[in-house]
Symmetry: C2
Subunit: 397 residues, 2 copies
């Protein structure tokens, strides 16, 4: 008799964004003519940079000719991309990362979920709360216990260190959903904690390209000792509009070690390498060529223009809302605005009000965890005219 993984039965009924999509569809069915402004899901709207488009056309042509066709890609990614990543994302910041510590994948969502495969079920997981739901659900699916570390306006969005020792800690900075960042000395606190407690930090830096302030670290490896305790996840999704193209990478330093129950040290690089070669088959050649082009001079200029465009949206939302008395956070180093709901109005109630009255789709803060109650997330990934209109509608609310 085939037995199911019963941890799945303990999950909340549906994945947050699927639930939002359902509610939006219900609204649309009864209001087919209303113009909805979607600032809910964190999906980009600007096209791929032209440098990427050109590189992909060239790669597609290569795939159509026998002499330049590419079959299976190397499981960890093509050297041409991994070299480019090391040089541009790390060397330029004075960070040492070996090329074979880079694992190219089809998404940071997949990686932050799949990384659990190499970790024991018994690890205690700590998450800053509110949090990207994938960290919660993937660990619940694996039967792990989870501790929430509140990150709210009350503590300045600087979550406390865990009370009980945590074995695995997820940190996402710039943060999704709050749009806040951690200054260097705060991140150092976490690295020191992990060094002391032999914990693993899973550092999700998917929004790194949006950092504007000088004292905000772009990589956890800027902090001394981090190579011994942290895996870093990066993505082209938000950097270069790859949400529909699928390319990301994960850095697993050679020095990073986990432990057996008997206390023996085991390099995580070898385990993740084995997981990758066994359960993954590489990223499309065409996509990897596109990702490489992100780093060309033209690609960098085009990416910067797009990020600037979104960050101008963030400024419009943030300043427009602040000017008329809304309490807002984020939006200075991240494409997310974290909006406090009016006093006494819950996240889902406020979501419903925005949907039915203003025809704006946000994301209820509580969907990201208990400490998100009383907040709503708006994204800066909309189009300029929609962002302006949404700001105007909210101003009048």
């Amino acid at each position: 008799m085939v037995l199911v993984n019963e941890n799945f039965l303990k999950l909340e009924e549906s994945y947050l964004f699927a639930e939002i999509a359902r509610r939006v569809e219900t609204f649309r069915a009864s209001h087919p003519k209303e113009k909805l402004i979607r600032l809910g899901i964190g999906d980009v709207t600007e096209p791929l940079p032209q440098a990427v488009i050109q590189a992909m056309h060239k790669a597609v042509d290569e795939m159509g000719r026998r002499e330049s066709f590419h079959g299976y890609a190397p499981d960890q990614g093509y050297d041409f991309l991994r070299e480019t990543i090391v040089k541009n994302d790390y060397e330029t910041r004075g960070i040492h990362v070996d090329m074979d510590e880079i694992f190219v994948s089809d998404g940071a969502k997949c990686d932050t979920g799949n990384i659990g495969d190499i970790l024991a079920q018994g690890n205690r997981v700590a998450l800053t709360d509110p949090v990207y739901p994938v960290y919660v659900d993937t660990n619940r699916m694996a039967g792990r216990s989870i501790a929430y570390l509140p990150s709210t306006a009350e503590n300045g969005f600087r979550p406390p260190l865990p009370d009980e020792p945590a074995d695995v800690i997820y940190l996402c900075y710039p943060n999704n959903p709050t749009g806040t960042t951690l200054p260097r000395e705060e991140l150092k606190r976490w690295v020191d904690y992990a060094l002391e407690n032999r914990s693993l930090i899973l550092y999700d830096a998917a929004y790194e390209a949006y950092i504007r302030q000088a004292d905000v670290p772009h990589s956890i490896y800027e902090i001394e000792g981090a190579r011994r305790v942290a895996i870093e996840f990066r993505s082209f999704s938000k950097t270069a509009g790859f949400t529909g193209q699928r390319c990301a990478f994960t850095v697993v330093p050679h020095e990073l070690e986990g432990y057996t129950a008997a206390g023996k040290q085991i390099a995580l690089h070898g385990l993740w390498s084995r997981r990758t070669s066994t359960k993954f088959n590489g990223v499309s050649y065409v996509t990897q060529r596109g990702a490489q082009a992100v780093y060309s001079p033209e690609g960098q200029a085009q990416v910067k223009a797009t990020v600037d465009y979104y960050m101008e949206n963030a400024r419009i939302l943030r300043e427009g809302l602040q000017a008329c008395g809304w309490e807002v956070y984020g939006g200075t180093d991240a494409p997310y605005i974290w909006l406090r709901t009016p006093r006494g109005v819950s996240s889902w109630e406020f979501f419903g009000q925005l949907l039915s009255k203003l025809h704006i789709v946000g994301t209820p803060g509580v969907g990201f965890g208990p400490s998100g109650e009383g907040y709503l997330r708006l994204t800066a990934f909309g189009r300029r005219e929609d962002t302006l209109e949404a700001t105007e509608r909210l101003r009048k609310f």
Copy 2:
């Protein structure tokens, strides 16, 4: 203290193909001038069909313009592709599959590994032996016990039903690595077994496009009752040369159920849907448009020409080797030739002899499981001239 998944430490030291690559590299380093013929790894060599190339160029252009840009794809795949799959792969054979039973993914390797996420650790797994190593390693990583069902020349490559009840059964037909198939009445035996024992069959049909004989089922759903016990995995990798492009799909029928330890029935469709939306982010739009074009009249003609090309390679190898006394199997409905080694010579020894003396790279049969000892796999995915030369070299051996 972060604990590792200690099941990883019990795995064989390296993944088969990585080990072969290592040995080949060692040989090449000391024999840089020898021309190697690679008939080892099952990777295609013919370019993508022109219909796919055209569709991908068009899709790349769409991704470069704001008005036609695509962000996150639906987790389960675009309707345009899922509809096309249902119509062409199933309706034409009189098989009913609902569109929402199709899950588009980045590879059958990933899917046959990841499916374990929704199954309990305690399931007893049965595998035909020799077997695709991914089934073994992914279940070992999850700590499941595995029973091998020998499939050799001695039993006509018709593996026996399990002695001990099996909860999960992997069947791959046309078979990798043996190149053999199961006739309809044999497959029915397995479906009946699963119905009787409430087992789950994971049916890997990645090589379906190579079937030539009329009595060989293309889908397990041709067998009555299979919708209640089987998940089917398909891929564009071998069908249309997508090994470097990454697109596949998995069919999870609504009727298919697993059980809780307390005996409650749970639809697997819901669990796989939840796993997909939580740990996966869809396949590239460009790739899905390419996959759709496989089914166009031009695409179908081009795919057929490529499959015919490989199957002519298979015929050349099979008949050439048979003519000079080699004992060979497969190659009639699959792109693999399963070659018996000379008496008393082990798979790895024979692999070494072919590499050092004939400069041919095969895959040692024992790498696919204990019953593969004494065999070697050759693929028909080489180029014609290489296939002819390899046949000639083997003839003289």
